[in-house]
């Protein structure tokens, strides 16, 4: 499996206290554990099972994911921040790996 690559998109301009859209995606095959490879062997389950976003050390949103989530999991939500700060994203893999991304949010 290629190393998963996380991506996050924020609007260019953010105002304090006004919700803005956060778009997130990570490249990951999300193996369901139901599929067989070309040799007929079952491909073991390996998914991103948890996604957590924190702002200033406080959990903003967390998501538990099941195999029914598409490959390259895409999650979009709204966020309102009181002031400038650091936005931390974490994706947790079944194999224990944690993929992280950090974004600075500057309010206008």
């Amino acid at each position: 499996m290629a190393e998963p690559t996380p991506r996050v998109k924020l609007p260019r301009s953010i105002e304090a206290g006004v919700p803005f859209t956060v778009k997130t995606r990570i490249t990951h095959p999300m193996h369901t554990g139901e599929r067989h490879d070309s040799e007929g062997a079952l491909v073991p389950r390996q998914i991103i099972n948890r996604f957590v976003v924190s702002y200033g050390g406080e959990v903003a949103i967390s998501v538990d994911l099941e195999p029914a989530v598409s490959a390259d999991p895409y999650i979009q939500f709204q966020l309102a921040v009181p002031e400038s700060g650091q936005l931390e994203f974490q994706w947790v893999d079944d194999d224990g790996s944690v993929y992280s991304l950090s974004k600075r949010v500057e309010v206008d």
Partner: protein, 139 residues
């Protein structure tokens, strides 16, 4: 051609089988009602208060966009009744995030998707929608 005795017997046998479908269907399901009960602790679910925004027909069952909104919810869970496993995702919202999210999901075949919201007062609300997929997102 007049129906033979055999045709008549077959027809009545399948009619009898059809009458049993509710129980049979519940057994044959992927356990979605049990999964919802686990999420709610068996609490009653009220309709309304949850927006489940999903296409009625979608080409690619491998990536069906689903948006859920439930004003006043602390958690929203998504379930399906036609994949091998009934769970899809559970969103938990902190105070900086309004209870709304969009995600792309896999549907192995045409089926119903459920959104169950746990409200701030501990009650539960539910919305569901049938989604027809042209090409299943095979498991």
């Amino acid at each position: 051609m007049a129906p033979t005795r055999r045709d008549v017997l077959l027809a009545s046998a399948s009619a009898a089988a059809a009458a049993l479908i509710p129980a049979g269907a519940a057994q044959a399901s992927n356990g979605v009602y049990q999964a919802i009960d686990e999420f709610t602790g068996g609490a009653l679910r009220l309709e309304g208060g949850v927006l489940l925004d999903a296409p009625e027909i979608f080409d690619n069952g491998g990536a069906v966009p689903i948006r859920v909104v439930a004003e006043g919810a602390r958690r929203i869970a998504l379930f399906n009744d036609g994949n091998p496993n009934p769970g899809v995702a559970v969103f938990s919202f902190g105070r900086l995030v309004p209870p709304e999210a969009t995600i792309r999901i896999r549907l192995a075949k045409s089926q119903t998707v459920y959104a169950v919201a746990e409200m701030a007062d501990g009650t539960f609300r539910e919305a569901s929608q049938k989604i027809a997929v042209t090409v299943g997102g095979c498991g």
